[in-house]
């Protein structure tokens, strides 16, 4: 009987073993999204925005909790990182850290969305479904150990984000943002995919582990195909993280899209993009670092300088923060260029601290942007300190943090990135990064002067009362506390990012 059984088993299709617990964070988010979509499309019940926010937060918290046992398992010396689905999806400290970061930003963003989608008059479950799905894509990107899985993750993340950007059908800017984001995003995906195809041709596999082993074992006599593929992949990633010269979409999309989703794009999508980039460039193509490091060096310098210079001449707050987010991508590229474990840790630290600061900043901008959520001109914050002192203080903390002033987490973020690149003796890049920090500080000071030192000449007709809803003050409090706490005592996060090393595990 048993022999009979094994005979059948050997004749049936061999499926790879799946470690469900390892995939749990992604499964929870995806299942929550699909469940919500099913409930909302099948039943006539009208679910309020607040319930949707709570639902999304619960799903994200569930996903966050599911990463904790995995994190403990991965940190355990005797067990360590592992991969599942025959090595296509890796669970290591790196992917888990990015997963946590993504779920935390989903929690914060869904709190903001609950309030601001109402003021933009685009209530409904769709935004939350897309937010959850997009985060699922991000988790897949962070853990992908196979180029095809990576591509699927990027597409799940991006396709949801295209719709989120175009969510406000009544506002022409939002639609325009969606269209631009879609066309340029799809263009970038095309480059990425063609790069993957060329790398497949050059190395004979789409698995990152197999590619790395191939590169370590074999000395290629002709590596044109490989380098062309690598170049196309870098172009694709540079588009996704909005690095110069592939940044055109960012200012338009940031200005046009609904503000809570801009906060999501600036925090979570950037994090997922850099996670994928580090895994591909540093871990898989570590052998070819002499070939990709100069490219990243050039892109980083252009991104740092152009981002901070163009930010100064803007007159719209959301556009200013868009360009400043481009220059922040520059610092992250500086850490990537270092191509060391220290550089990876610095990038993760930067991503985590920046997420809180940028979500907080966009929350303040949303609160201040009037009932329709469209007043985002620089002059709209004039005299904010008189109108809403607490809000002004929170905004000041976020802006100083982004400028990298000591006693905020932004200072340590910049410090670690620059330290990592100095260790690798790229002094030119370190100098440019410090220079860009000085130029960038001017931008943030310009906003701060408007907030604190400029008196409102004409009190606007309705007196412009700002009411801060509970969820938003929760987000602002968390973001402020994290920014200040890590600015004084960064050790807990530093220790965590140092354990979040990316590795490639074969099945």
């Amino acid at each position: 009987m048993i022999q009979n059984m094994s005979f059948i088993a050997s004749n049936s299709l061999q499926t790879p073993s799946v470690s469900w617990s390892g995939l749990l964070p992604a499964i929870i988010l995806a299942a929550a999204a699909i469940l919500l979509l099913t409930i909302c499309s099948l039943t006539p019940i009208k679910i309020t925005n607040q319930q949707l926010t709570i639902y999304t937060c619960v799903a994200a918290v569930g996903s966050l909790v599911a990463t904790i046992p995995l994190w403990l398992r991965v940190q355990d010396e005797s067990r360590g990182p592992f991969s599942t689905i025959s090595g296509a999806f890796g669970i290591d400290g790196f992917s888990l850290f990015v997963t946590m970061l993504l779920t935390v930003s989903v929690i914060l963003v869904s709190c903001l969305a609950g309030v601001f989608l109402k003021s933009e008059d685009i209530e409904g479950p769709e935004s939350y479904v897309l937010l959850l799905l997009s985060a699922t894509g991000g988790i897949i990107m962070a853990g992908a150990n196979d180029f095809i899985i990576l591509f699927l993750g990027i597409e799940v993340l991006s396709i949801s984000a295209y719709v989120l950007a175009a969510m406000n059908l009544k506002r022409i800017q939002s639609q325009e943002a969606g269209l631009k984001y879609f066309v340029l995003g799809a263009f970038a995906s095309g480059f990425l995919l063609y790069g993957i195809a060329l790398l497949y041709g050059a190395t004979g596999s789409t698995e990152l582990t197999a590619i790395r082993n191939f590169l370590v074992d074999t000395e290629l006599t002709n590596d044109t195909l490989l380098l062309a593929g690598l170049a196309l992949i870098i172009v694709g990633f540079a588009f996704k993280v909005a690095a110069v010269p592939f940044h055109f979409w960012a200012p338009d999309v940031y200005q046009g899209a609904p503000t809570p989703f801009v906060a999501y794009m600036a925090s979570a999508i950037k994090a997922a993009g850099f996670a994928a980039m580090l895994r591909v460039l540093y871990v898989t193509f570590g052998q070819y670092r002499a070939d990709w490091q100069p490219v990243i060096y050039g892109i980083a310098i252009a991104t740092l300088l152009l981002g901070s210079l163009l930010a100064i001449v803007q007159t719209d707050l959301k556009r200013m923060l868009a360009y400043s987010s481009i220059s922040h991508a520059g610092y992250l590229l500086v850490g990537t260029q270092a191509a060391s474990d220290q550089g990876v840790a610095a990038v993760l630290f930067y991503l985590a601290t920046y997420a809180f600061m940028v979500i907080g900043s966009f929350a303040v901008i949303s609160l201040n942007s009037g009932p329709a959520g469209t007043e985002t001109d620089l002059n709209s914050v004039t005299g904010l300190a008189n109108r809403k002192p607490m809000l002004a203080i929170a905004f000041t903390v976020f802006l100083l943090g982004q400028a990298g002033i000591p006693l905020t987490s932004g200072f340590f973020a910049k410090f670690y990135v620059i330290e990592a690149v100095i260790e690798e003796e790229s002094f030119g890049l370190a100098i440019v990064a410090m220079l860009a920090a000085v130029i960038g500080a001017f931008l943030y000071l310009r906003i701060l002067v408007k907030i604190w030192l400029t008196n409102q000449e004409t009190v606007s007709e309705e007196g412009k009362m700002i009411v801060i809803p509970k969820q938003v003050s929760f987000v602002l409090t968390i973001a402020t506390i994290v920014t200040l706490f890590l600015g004084v005592w960064p050790e807990p996060l530093v220790e965590m990012v140092q354990r979040a090393v990316p590795v490639l595990m074969a099945s």
């Binding site: 591509f151 295209y162 059908l169 269209l179 995919l193 497949y200 789409t206 163009l310």
Partner: protein
């Protein structure tokens, strides 16, 4: 006399590179959103062709399999893209991407 014709992998790869260039170039030059979609499809299909020809040359199934995934993604992408275009064009009947320029820095 029969003419034995063998078409080597390099021809397929050249065609795929050509398709990719047409797609990328077209996307930058053309201004009609529908044509831009077709260009994106061309780029993705160029990658598909490259996958299949590499897979055939190496006798590896992975290349052929990747194409299935890419096809699904391309379909999803077009659905979303067309939906966005329809939404935009309802407000503006002239279909040209240059008209979509409220946002400018």
């Amino acid at each position: 006399m029969t003419l034995a014709l063998t078409i080597g992998t390099e021809y397929y790869l050249a065609l795929s590179a050509l398709l990719f260039t047409i797609g990328a170039g077209g996307l930058l030059v053309r201004r009609n959103p529908l044509i831009m979609f077709m260009c994106i499809e061309l780029m993705l299909n160029a990658a598909n062709l490259a996958f299949v020809s590499f897979g055939k040359e190496m006798g590896d199934l992975g290349g052929q399999l990747s194409v299935l995934f890419v096809l699904v993604v391309a379909a999803a992408e077009v659905v979303i893209g067309l939906a966005i275009v329809v939404a935009v064009m309802r407000r503006r009947p002239k279909a040209s991407i240059d008209e979509v320029s409220v946002l400018r820095g």
